[in-house]
């Protein structure tokens, strides 16, 4: 028998009482740890699940909504097969704050398994990152920002999955709680999807554990991530972080691909699932219960890295690089041979292997045995069923009143532009992402930095393309969580459209503070409203996601509301892709958007040290019409380049389009734009025209194509001819010209110090 205190679990007294009542006895130590994991926020979504129901999850493109380890979106057909993109999104925030390299690396490792276990080939990862202030080279924040990137790089590069999208923001509100979100994407034929449940007729089938030998690492990981971080507990927290092994994972993935082929040849339906939170217990219980079965597991069969592990550690510990198969016994030997002999798992890592650990049962019980004793025996639905915490929440406070003072900066435009370009949210990300392999697998069309979304040609021999973009702006979130959520969707969708893709669906990772504080839960609820509203408007359903709460330190400081969104796009013919680099002098530049006198959340105001509550609004009907125009113009090859407006607004977008032309072997292409107030017809001031972050795009159209483009754009509002491209290496606004090389230097430098 165990007690909650001696077992060091996070279950609350009322939850413990409920368990004892249901069991009709005191729970064993193993059972305590099992419920601790299953009923943690991380696994159960107990305080968030009912709010998540607001999100739209259905649509034409949805092959599999948010029910299993990953969602699946239809991206197109080839040779009579429907192809799906498998997508999953997760956070590894707490571990990354404590041990950034391992924490971030295991984030990539875990999300990749979520995609792999759907029967998919893993084709890409992405990494939305939020770090604290990195100016001090000796600070923990700098260490976190460097270590997390190195961990993502080391893991993703080694397994051979390209990192094609991501973003990074730096803010003091992330000093004590970084956010390391990870997205993974796979490709699968609809006819070959493998589900995360024991299929029909699986009674008596084998439960096969495959991967790394179980060790004591990652014990208590699920409940660790469902508590606030306390620096004093750092030492014990470190033990809850798992240890990554990308070398083993590389082999495990390839061996699994071989097993997929074996199953296809025999047209067999089986179950496959990643071990994440709750370890062997969580995975085996869920894969069996989801099929309506029970499970009986013999913990003595588990391959261990060290002898003498307690049964609760074997059952619930979160050793990385493991998955579970549910297989008909007649093929088990063949599958074991693929892993253990053909791919030699036991020689790749100590005692790694595939091994039968139990049986799928008819009885709805979850039973664990250890050294001949039954150490757990519970109703499997009680263990894996949903639990719910109805917590009170408060509406977020109304943002500060608008600052009506006129925007007189007293700063010259050139200095302002340089300060905005050097801002930590704007400056070049290349020093960071050049550490990621964004071209391995040879399918990359648009690598990191070349467009607003990463683009792949994922099906060899077909013209199908897939795009991936991520977004989530903490500067807006600090002002208005709901609008921040809407902008996250709008920006991710816009990123996909800017490369010419058709947005097909979304994933979200919701990073918030302590749900037991009404104001934090209120932010969560408000953000969900925004996520639901924007996704409905864009007809882009959510097919997977993750909730990360308790991003709060013991001192009570929490992250700003951080709804982070990834958008998947599709191309029937990836030849229609558009990159952001300007192509030639003599083109006409258009702004497609909606000028607004709303600088709230802009980098400009941050640079000027001002606060202003008016966050740009999104006109969804207008945005939809503009997105259709950009995609059609891309499809008929009228766009030489395109770039979304994001951090820093229009003038930064123009700089980012011109900078790539400074590379050796290219002709520099500059920009001449008209006086901003002219093209906005006085609707907004100069600074607002240049720096407001209102969304929209800049596109480059060859002079010869202007008539065709304007013909397409005839019925669409908000298309503004703003200037031309030139053969001078300058960004010229009316009669002021700023040297492109100098601006490029200012923009390139800041992150080089952190990521040399």
């Amino acid at each position: 028998m165990g007690s909650a205190e001696s077992a060091n679990v996070a279950l609350r007294p009322d939850e413990l009482a409920r368990i004892a009542e249901r069991l009709g006895r005191a729970p064993t130590t193993v059972e305590l740890h099992a419920f601790d994991a299953q009923w943690s926020e991380h696994c159960s979504y107990k305080s968030s699940r009912h709010h998540l129901k607001k999100l739209p999850t259905n649509g034409e493109s949805v092959i599999l909504g948010p029910a299993e380890d990953s969602g699946i979106l239809h991206i197109g057909d080839f040779n009579g097969e429907r192809y799906g993109v498998v997508i999953a999104h997760e956070s590894h925030n707490h571990p990354s704050q404590v041990v950034p390299f391992e924490g971030a690396a295991t984030g990539i490792g875990g999300i990749v398994r979520d995609v792999l276990c759907m029967g998919a080939e893993v084709i890409a990862v992405a990494d939305p990152l939020r770090f604290g202030r990195i100016e001090d080279a000796q600070s923990h924040q700098r260490y976190v920002a460097q270590g997390a990137v190195d961990g993502i790089s080391a893991y993703g590069n080694a397994i051979g999955v390209p990192n094609i999208a991501g973003d990074v923001y730096f803010d003091e509100r992330f000093d004590d709680n970084c956010l390391v979100n990870v997205v993974a994407m796979g490709i699968v034929k609809e006819s070959e999807i493998i589900h995360s449940y024991a299929p029909k007729g699986a009674h008596g089938w084998d439960i096969v554990l495959v991967g790394k030998a179980t060790d004591p690492s990652g014990f208590g990981g699920a409940s660790f991530s469902s508590l606030t971080l306390d620096a004093a507990d750092e030492a014990s927290n470190k033990g809850a972080v798992q240890v990554p092994d990308p070398f083993l994972k590389n082999v495990l993935m390839r061996a699994s691909y071989r097993v997929f082929g074996y199953l296809r040849e025999r047209n067999l339906t089986v179950g496959y699932k990643d071990l994440g939170a709750g370890g062997i217990m969580g995975c085996s219980a869920e894969i069996c219960s989801a099929g309506g079965y029970g499970a009986s597991i013999d913990l003595d069969k588990v391959n261990l890295a060290v002898e003498g592990l307690k049964p609760e550690v074997i059952a619930v510990g979160e050793t990385q690089e493991r998955l579970i198969w549910v297989l008909p016994p007649e093929i088990t030997a063949d599958v074991l041979r693929i892993y253990n002999e053909e791919f030699t798992l036991p020689q790749i890592a100590y005692n790694a292997r595939a091994v039968v650990i139990g049986t799928v049962t008819d009885e709805p019980r979850y039973v664990l045995r250890h050294r001949g004793e039954t150490v757990m025996d519970v109703d499997i639905e009680f263990l894996t069923g949903s639990i719910r915490d109805e917590l009170p929440y408060a509406e977020p406070q109304a943002p500060h009143a608008a600052d009506e003072r006129p925007l007189v900066t007293g700063v010259q435009l050139d200095e302002l532009l340089e300060r905005v370009l050097a801002h930590r949210d704007v400056c070049s990300r290349e020093p960071l992402y050049r550490r990621y392999d964004s071209v391995v697998r040879g399918c990359t069309v648009v690598p990191r930095g070349a467009g607003d979304a990463g683009v792949l040609a994922p099906v060899p021999g077909s013209t199908l393309g897939v795009a991936l973009a991520v977004a989530g702006n903490p500067r807006i979130a600090k002002l208005d969580p709901r609008l921040a959520a809407e902008h996250a969707v709008y920006e991710a969708v816009r990123g996909v459209v800017a490369v010419g893709g058709r947005p097909v669906g979304l994933t979200d990772c919701l990073n918030f503070g302590n749900p037991r504080k009404p104001e934090h839960l209120g932010e969560f609820v408000a953000a969900l409203d925004g996520l639901a509203h924007a996704a409905t408007a864009f007809a882009t359903p959510y097919v997977s996601g993750n909730v990360s709460l308790y991003n709060e330190s013991a001192g009570g400081s929490a992250v700003p509301a951080s709804p982070i969104v990834a958008c998947v796009g599709a191309f029937d013919d990836v030849a229609h892709v558009v990159t952001m680099s300007l192509k030639a002098a003599g083109s006409v530049l258009y702004f497609i958007g909606r000028p607004q006198a709303a600088l709230g959340g802009s980098v400009l105001l941050d640079v000027l040290g001002r606060h202003e509550a008016r966050v740009p609004r999104i006109d969804y009907d207008l945005a939809l019409a503009q997105h259709a125009l950009v995609r059609e113009a891309a499809r008929v090859n009228l766009l030489r380049s395109a770039h979304k407006l994001g951090n820093g607004g229009l003038v930064v977008a123009l700089c980012e389009m011109a900078f790539p032309t400074l590379r050796r072997g290219h002709k520099p292409v500059g920009v001449q734009i008209d006086e901003p107030w002219q093209w906005t017809h006085g609707a907004v001031g100069d600074l607002e025209a240049l720096f407001a972050e209102t969304g929209g795009f800049v596109v480059e159209v060859a002079a010869a194509d202007v008539d065709a483009f304007e013909g397409l754009a005839d019925d669409v509002e908000g298309i503004w001819e703003i200037g031309v491209t030139t053969d001078q290496p300058v960004i010229a606004v009316d009669d002021e010209a700023f040297d492109l090389h100098r601006l490029h230097g200012v923009w390139s430098a800041p992150l080089r110090e952190v990521y040399p």
Binding site: A158, T344, R435, V440
Partner: protein, 255 residues
């Protein structure tokens, strides 16, 4: 009948599929051979060692893999004149195995592809490599023009050629530096080299010309869709760019 090419998969290799795909698109009869099937290797006519992190790059990239059983067969085949082409991690393995420059004892490397400079970090960046030998010097480069420029991706943490000054002088004098990093216009200076590799070296060739070890990946720039800013028209699925390197190799194998 076409000659058969083995694409070797060590534990940790990660670029085998795209390497295989482009070899086949360029007319090669290529097949993957995994480490547990090493004994199949003598039946093949040529070997390609793709990129990755064989044996986790323990000790030094390629150092452990050079002692894998598969390399026994590659060393034997190279000695018998079979063509061997290593890319990235494959290049590191060939150097650690002593097959390039091939002037000393087997598995006693005289140089190394080691940690990048000036900072010892992995970098992923598009590059061009320029043929620095007479195309006729190696069968593998015979299909290329003199001074040919091959677009490719450098994606490695250990790609800097390092050796004693005497050894570097021997490599240069012996015509072992097969490719150097270059700017897109073909000009060559130190700033074209992304990793401070000695002599700007991007690839080494052995004395006989049948073993080529190249750090950057032409196969990642091997299709029109890999270079969306450079392609003409809409032919998105044709081998192009870095494929000239694979074509030249396959031609040499099938010759």
């Amino acid at each position: 009948m076409n000659k058969r090419i083995a694409v070797l998969v060590f534990p940790g290799t990660n670029s085998e599929e795209e390497t295989l795909r482009l070899l086949r698109a360029c007319g090669g009869d290529a097949h993957l051979v995994h480490w547990s099937n090493a004994k199949l290797l003598p039946k093949f006519d040529a070997y390609v060692l793709p990129g990755g992190f064989a044996y986790e790059d323990r000790i030094r990239a390629g150092a452990i893999a050079a002692h894998d059983e598969m390399m026994d067969y590659v060393i034997e085949g190279a000695g018998a004149g079979k063509l061997v082409y290593g890319i990235c991690n494959g290049a590191q393995i060939l150097l650690e195995a002593g097959l390039v420059p091939g002037t000393g004892d087997v598995r006693r490397p005289s140089a190394a592809f080691t940690r990048n400079g000036p900072v010892p970090h992995f970098i992923c960046t598009h590059v061009h490599v320029k043929l620095a030998i007479d195309p006729q010097r190696s069968p593998i480069t015979r299909g290329l023009q003199r001074d040919a420029l091959v677009p490719a991706w450098a994606a490695h943490g250990e790609g800097r050629l390092a050796a004693t000054p005497e050894e570097l002088a021997r490599l240069e004098a012996g015509g072992h530096v097969a490719f150097v990093y270059a700017h897109p216009d073909g000009s060559v200076d130190a700033s074209a080299t992304p990793n401070q590799s000695a002599l700007g070296c991007a690839a080494l060739v052995n004395r006989e010309g049948n073993v080529l070890a190249m750090m950057p990946h032409p196969e990642r720039d091997g299709w029109t869709y890999n270079h969306p800013d450079r392609r003409g028209g809409n032919a998105i699925l044709a081998p192009s760019g870095g494929a000239i390197m694979f074509r030249s190799f396959v031609q040499a194998v099938n010759a």
